[in-house]
Symmetry: C2
Subunit: 106 residues, 2 copies
């Protein structure tokens, strides 16, 4: 009841090359993504706050008109409603934390 | 303003062997921990929901009286008020997501 296995989460491809394992908790959606090099996520926005961490690899991220390469050494915090998107420069493992829960990803 | 570097977060030792880099967002505290092998965190509880992920290594976790070894293949979700604690079986990198913000860690 407290412990869970990643293998029991069916991966979901939310965009071409973006394979997600989604965990919905009490107040958050926590998303572990495997992203294939070269895959792009077009600029978009949602009302949820998003914290993004690149656990492995390099991801070129644009947030609110500013572009920076995310690596395991940095991260970005995206308030709700701010346009963002990007491109995987290498194969990446990415962690996104959303608040509140992404009902659209359930 | 959206992008941040981990090197700008001063590590905080919340218990012997548990070195934290804490990020406080709009609704969450996100904690990246380096834990030294053999370090133990006594059983404790707090009103915050906690999601715990072992990114590297093995951590023997007890939650609500049940003990399991956390690895990168599994995770645990700890509702507020549930007793938990554990021991690092190896050096570990751990990610904890708390909701709401841990004001006591600010």
């Amino acid at each position: 009841m407290y412990f869970h296995a990643f293998e029991s989460i069916a991966p979901k491809e939310i965009a071409p090359g973006f394979l997600c394992q989604l965990i919905h908790t009490e107040h958050n959606t926590i998303n572990f993504l495997d992203v294939a090099a070269g895959s792009t996520l077009p600029l978009h926005q949602h009302p949820h706050h998003q914290s993004s961490f690149v656990l492995q690899g390099e991801f070129e991220m644009t947030v609110g008109g500013t572009t920076q390469v995310l690596t395991p050494q940095n991260y970005c915090l995206i308030p709700g409603g701010v346009m963002h998107g990007g491109k995987a420069l290498t194969n990446c493992k990415i962690l996104d934390v959303f608040s509140p829960i992404r009902q659209d990803y359930r």
